[in-house]
Symmetry: C2
Subunit: 225 residues, 2 copies
């Protein structure tokens, strides 16, 4: 292949990529409509691998399962470790294995929604693939997006990912018991997030002990049952 044809191909890529996002947004809007028709609230949960997303979902299920009919959707490259852990809490879980794909998208979620009896649901918790970058560009069709960071990810994980926090309603700073050992300043993380998104709610949790979970649930501002 010569340089000229290389360049031509490169130029072709741009509209295709834009098309992926606009198509995805369109399907995400369809998902929202489908959910609202049945009064189901959906939450997209983002965060790096090991930030504690699954433990937080387990906490949510434990606290909310008596008041809300919950289904979890767990995205992962290859394993079902997270789905199994959530299921132990007593909520049905649908596993999506994405292969090498670094995020969930609206089409994957739509396929799952079509298998559910939405009249029999109140709350859908989508645990996205463990990755702080890619899922932020792909709406899944949820009412709100939660970003989970762990203090063990160091002091820069917020400022390094402005796009991820820009569309989040709640930032959960998890593993606060390790903030001291990590020399991470919790107030600084909060200020970083507020600078990116002035109306973001910031809560501090320890998913293992349950510390901060009531404040997290309050911040979600769920539809009253």
């Amino acid at each position: 292949m010569d340089t000229k044809s290389d360049k031509k191909d490169l130029e072709v890529n741009v509209p295709v990529e834009e098309d992926i996002f606009s198509r995805n947004n369109k399907i995400a809007d369809q998902n929202i409509s489908m959910l609202e028709k049945h009064h189901v609230h959906a939450i997209d949960i983002l965060g790096s691998v090991g930030s504690g997303k699954t433990t937080l979902v387990q906490n949510l299920v434990r606290h909310l399962k008596n008041d809300y009919r919950i289904t979890a959707i767990a995205g992962d490259l290859t394993t079902s470790i997270d789905a199994d852990r959530i299921q132990e809490e007593g909520a049905p879980v649908v596993q999506i294995n994405t292969g090498q794909e670094c995020h969930l998208d609206a089409t994957m979620i739509q396929k799952v929604l079509k298998t559910l009896d939405l009249e029999d649901q109140d709350l859908i918790l989508v645990e996205n693939v463990g990755n702080l970058i890619c899922p932020s560009a792909f709406q899944v069709g949820a009412h709100q997006r939660i970003v989970v960071v762990s203090t063990t990810e160091g002091p820069y994980m917020v400022v390094k990912h402005p796009h991820t926090f820009m569309e989040a309603s709640v930032l959960v700073v998890n593993k606060i018991d390790l903030a001291g050992a990590m020399e991470v300043d919790l107030d600084k993380l909060k200020r970083d997030a507020l600078q990116i998104k002035p109306d973001i709610k910031v809560v501090f949790t320890n998913g293992r002990t349950g510390e901060g979970i009531p404040e997290f649930i309050q911040a979600l501002n769920l539809p009253k049952k």
Copy 2:
């Protein structure tokens, strides 16, 4: 846009994506040739945000700068925090800001290589964008790939990312001082990695104290000076 044209567009995406990978591999091969012509060794360093990649690069620069002429290339979405930290150790650093792109690729690295006097280099350390998934699919044109994981990422970060470890020569398990608090079994992580890649070298480090850095350097098996 009707459903039929939607479907057609989707079918078009597949060859374009395959083309991206094959084009990238071709440019990565060019990068390797360019480096070898000047006897320069290059290392691609992968890991999640906060795994400790920058601290490890700082350690490498500190230990190796008297024996090797080192340049670092630091990939990040928007900030220059990592580049600044590496520069403090006395190595020149080239910053690549990828915007929203979740990985470096061979074209970005080739652009940097063309600005360097490679006759004046021995070692190039590429710190990839903080992400355990996407960079694994994009060769940058390095002689070896190092994957850094932190014990604080929990017990599943190896088994969840088989593709990332399959092409790595060394796995660095960092922040070993926090393994106890995280209830992470270091031997289990090593076994997980060896199951994916039987000849991977596994080293255990604490980037802050320097523990394990000599073993890490030995595992790199750098060309003798």
